[in-house]
């Protein structure tokens, strides 16, 4: 509309088209895009991401969200997507593993470090490690081994030693 006026064009006529009533919902930003959730406000973020937005990089972990498979960044902090109902995400900025790389396709340094250190087993827990790792690097750009020890993630393929190296590589600290 502003653009139309700027170009000296008459405002678009509304005629007899009735505008749709504004739908009530929860506005949030996921990976930089605006969305409005109009369904059950108690729906956990995990199912909103996976079923509604079809962003399936965030995985189903345990029911209590304690093993790190379902981590996403909400306003920059790692949270369990299965524990977070949509009602608590009004205006939130959510970043999932799909949103970590830059728009031009270049990877986040931690993503690249995971590739460089071969820090991947079956890969199912990798998105959770990345989110937990980025959360850690945001809080502590030069994490110690004790900081890395506190990551909540669990893995059966045994990637932990390689994840440790990847985090240190991304942080530029000595392995």
């Amino acid at each position: 509309m502003q653009q139309a006026q700027a170009q000296g064009l008459p405002p678009a006529t509304t005629g007899d088209i009735t505008p749709e009533p504004v739908r009530e919902g929860i506005d949030l930003i996921v990976n930089g895009e605006r969305f409005r959730h109009t369904g059950d406000p108690l729906m956990p973020l995990l199912w909103y991401l996976r079923d509604v937005l079809r962003l399936t990089g965030t995985k189903l972990g345990d029911a209590h969200g304690e093993d790190g498979y379902d981590l996403v960044l909400v306003n920059g902090k790692a949270v369990s997507a299965i524990k977070r109902p949509m009602a608590k995400l009004v205006g939130a900025r959510v970043t999932t593993v799909e949103g970590l790389a830059h728009a031009d396709g270049s990877l986040h340094p931690l993503q690249q470090a995971f590739i460089d250190e071969d820090a991947i087993g079956c890969g199912y827990c990798t998105p959770g490690w990345l989110i937990a790792g980025i959360d850690l690097l945001t809080r502590k750009p030069k994490p110690t081994d004790e900081d890395i020890d506190k990551l909540p993630n669990r893995c059966r393929c045994g990637v932990q030693t390689r994840v440790r190296r990847a985090i240190k590589r991304a942080a530029g600290v000595k392995a």
């Binding site: 059950d40 729906m43 956990p44 199912w47 996976r50 079923d51 509604v52 079809r54 962003l55 399936t56 990089g57 965030t58 995985k59 189903l60 972990g61 345990d62 029911a63 209590h64 304690e66 093993d67 498979y69 999932t96 593993v97 799909e98 970590l100 790389a101 990877l107 993503q111 995971f114 590739i115 071969d118 991947i120 087993g121 079956c122 890969g123 199912y124 827990c125 990798t126 998105p127 990345l130 081994d145 890395i148 020890d149 506190k150 990551l151 909540p152 993630n153 669990r154 893995c155 059966r156 393929c157 045994g158 990637v159 932990q160 030693t161 390689r162 994840v163 440790r164 190296r165």
Partner: protein, 750 residues
């Protein structure tokens, strides 16, 4: 060990297409027409119908036939083909092959040969037949170049996707594929590249899926969906032999989006792993959240089955201990060499110990799930499986469809560890899809994976050693009790031991009088294959016990081992099998040198070592550990493996480090217990996998360079990790852990 050639009909490689601007090489049959899937001819790579496709623009597609559960087959298998093809790896795209099945007289014909993962035979099978696929494509391209250029084929060489002439002119493969496709392939197998010309095999390669994984683009089966599919979640009966006592469905059906609530039951007279694992009630809904809300509203009661009350892990263990203490005859006497009685008469010392290991669950990261669409004469499934052929047979039995009307897609799998060799979840999904006449996406919770698993049986080992003069081990009498993973799976009673003991395991062949007895425990709890078994449980007992012998003799446990193993030699084992003692000694030397074992006596931390062999592959661990109060610190871990030729050293290092950490994790904390037939661990709080803090900061991996045929390695590093740690803990704290999980036992004894 099985190879890819498990069927009687003669397979050969052939050109499947050469006229549509691409060269496609695949597997054909001597007496069958092989239809060319349209996908191989067009731009749709969704269903790769053969192993190799080379396009005119030089891009190469290579199919990976074995599921990749994190074991690296999607990288290693295509590299074996690419090596023989002399392909430019940077131009290769790997496509996971679904199940390759055609129909012949109503019977299935497996068009890709071997398709299974996590059983240690992917690489050996690929080595046996896949190299020919690459060699044939290269031969055809070389022939095409020879004809076009008028140069004898044997004067041309291939290099990174180019044919190179003696005077240095280079012709890209893409420019030759159209002509190559018109050349008849030879009847005899082609000569393979000499290893000194390898440019890919033996060089490190990152996981082909790495970029898609770190960007969240990789789709696992759990991520697949059809728009019209219903999501199904389950309430499962806590007793495998129990049944539904009462159910009230109205509150669940009142939830918006819930479509149907229906019970499913295991079929009778069907082997475990091929039908539902327990009675269940499914809630089917339009989306996952509605299904889970419906599940929460379900009011139901289960009742135990006839045998439920008898199932008690504590009682079973007591039974096993009592059984091994009596002189009752074993279920199977697996080995009995020499004369134990005569050895006993010469005994200077005796050592005896009992080891108890708990039941374990697979705890796969990706939960059990299956997406299935049933049309009138076609079934289409996306299945996280280690064994697509077994999944196929479950679908075929339940649908009665013709063999080639069942399409099974296998995306990357979120961990297998043996759990996905069974397909109860496939049976459940198919039962539901049949009932609702709509596609179904079945999803278990991760917790259900703990309460409804084909468990690894708990084990009890009782070992007696007889030591003669000069500290020589002259007698070894080993008894093991467990509930066989093969029970109910169509295996004869006298073969049930084969999932519980490896006949050639240490110290077979090394002690003059050696006996290994297995006692069968009866249990109604479901059991199944588990990563690294039967080696993990046996190695823990045997390799801990060797340290106990050393302690009795007041000597360095490495010396005890060296004396037991003797000189490097090829040791033919009675009853078959060969032990290359030199290779075992070598891995033992590599890890003890690296960890500086010479400091064993005075080191401030404890050091432990263990070695083992599995099907011609050799492994040793040396571990340094400290016990600070109630805290166990794993200070240093070194592992050396000799697997024959290494296909992808980076992948192998990952497998070795990963299996080490997995084995340590399994040994430190978790145990499955059951009472009145119910598993008591309901979640991961009760079944803790190791945290980052519990595990070592690094695993130092040493690969032995070798030009023998490659062996499987995905679980090779499992067996020796826990005993090496237990041996280090003994040295650090004087506490001998004879019962797992280790942390619980350590806290009890300290």
């Amino acid at each position: 060990m099985s190879t890819g050639l498990q069927f009687s009909r003669r397979r050969f490689l052939q050109v499947l297409a050469g006229t549509a601007g691409a060269l496609v090489v695949g597997v054909g049959y001597a007496d069958a027409e092989v239809p060319i899937p349209p996908a191989m001819l067009g731009d749709d790579f969704g269903r790769l119908g053969a192993y190799v496709r080379i396009d005119r623009d030089g891009n190469v597609l290579i199919g990976a036939r074995d599921p990749d559960t994190g074991t690296g087959t999607a990288t290693a298998l295509p590299r074996i083909i690419a090596e023989e093809l002399d392909a430019d790896w940077t131009r290769v795209t790997v496509v996971p092959l679904g199940l390759g099945v055609e129909a012949k007289n109503g019977k299935p014909v497996w068009t890709y040969g071997h398709q299974r993962s996590g059983t240690g035979d992917s690489i050996p099978a690929a080595w046996a037949d896949l190299r020919q696929a690459g060699a044939l494509a290269r031969w055809l391209i070389t022939q095409a170049a020879a004809r076009r250029l008028g140069i004898a084929a044997d004067r041309l060489r291939c290099e990174a996707g180019m044919v190179v002439t003696p005077d240095g002119r280079r012709f890209p493969y893409g420019s030759l594929v159209e002509a190559a496709g018109k050349i008849d392939p030879p009847n005899a197998p082609l000569p393979l590249k000499p290893p000194q010309r390898y440019t890919l095999i033996g060089r490190p390669a990152g996981d082909v899926d790495a970029r898609n994984i770190v960007t969240g683009q990789t789709r696992y089966a759990l991520d697949a969906h059809y728009a019209d599919a219903l999501v199904a979640v389950l309430a499962q009966c806590p007793w495998p032999d129990g049944s539904l006592a009462s159910i009230e469905t109205a509150p669940a059906l009142a939830i918006k989006g819930v479509v149907k609530v229906m019970p499913i039951n295991p079929e009778t007279d069907v082997a475990p792993g091929e039908t539902a694992i327990a009675p269940a009630v499914a809630v089917l809904a339009e989306n996952t959240w509605a299904a889970l809300r419906g599940l929460a509203e379900l009011k139901l009661e289960w009742k135990p089955g006839a045998h439920s009350a008898e199932q008690d892990s504590g009682k079973l263990e007591a039974q096993a201990l009592a059984l091994l203490d009596t002189d009752s005859a074993p279920t199977t006497r697996i080995r009995d060499e020499g004369d134990l009685k005569a050895a006993s008469r010469k005994a200077a010392r005796r050592v005896e110990a009992t080891y108890v290991q708990p039941w374990l669950a697979h705890a796969t990261p990706e939960p059990m799930n299956c997406l299935v669409r049933l049309d009138k004469d076609q079934a289409t499934l996306v299945v996280p499986t280690q064994a697509p052929k077994q999944a196929w047979s479950v679908v075929q039995r339940l649908t009665g469809l013709a063999p080639d009307r069942i399409a099974i897609e296998v995306p990357r799998v979120g961990g297998g560890y043996g759990r996905r060799l069974d397909h109860d979840y496939v049976a459940e999904a198919v039962m539901l899809a049949k009932a609702v006449d709509k596609p179904v996406r079945l999803m278990w919770t991760r917790e259900q994976g703990l309460t409804h698993d084909y468990y690894r049986s708990g084990t009890v080992h009782k070992i007696k050693a007889i030591i003669g003069r000069k500290r020589t081990l002259i007698g070894w009498d080993q008894r093991m009790a467990s509930a066989s993973a093969l029970t109910g799976r169509g295996v004869a009673a006298d073969r049930l031991w084969t999932s519980e003991v490896a006949a050639d395991q240490l110290p077979a062949g090394l002690v003059p009088a050696y006996r290994n007895d297995w006692y069968s425990l009866a249990s109604g709890m479901p059991r199944g294959p588990f990563r690294g078994e039967p080696h993990v449980t046996n190695a823990f007992a045997v390799e801990s016990f060797i340290d106990e012998i050393a302690h009795t003799l007041r000597e360095n446990p490495l010396d005890t081992r060296l004396r037991l193993l003797g000189k490097p030699r090829q040791l033919a084992l009675p009853g078959g099998g060969m032990l290359d003692v030199g290779r075992l000694l070598n891995v033992l030397k590599l890890v003890t040198d690296r960890i500086e074992w010479k400091n064993w006596l005075h080191n401030v931390n404890g050091m432990g070592v263990a070695c083992w062999h599995i099907d011609g592959a050799y492994v040793a661990h040396a571990i340094e550990a400290a016990v600070h109060g109630e805290k166990l610190e794993i200070v240093r871990v070194v592992c050396a493996v000799d697997v024959g030729r290494v296909i992808n050293p980076l992948g192998l290092q990952g497998q070795v480090a990963g299996a080490t950490l997995d084995a340590l994790s399994n040994a430190l904390n978790p145990a499955i217990t059951f009472r009145n037939g119910q598993v008591q661990q309901q979640g991961f709080k009760d079944y803790p996998l190791a945290s980052m803090a519990q595990l070592p900061n690094d695993v130092e991996v040493i690969l032995v360079p070798n030009d023998r045929a490659p062996t499987g390695a995905s679980f090779l590093a499992m067996p020796t990790a826990a005993p090496a740690l237990a041996n280090a803990v003994f040295r650090a704290s004087a506490v001998r852990v004879r019962r797992l999980p280790m942390m619980k036992e350590l806290l009890r004894l300290l």
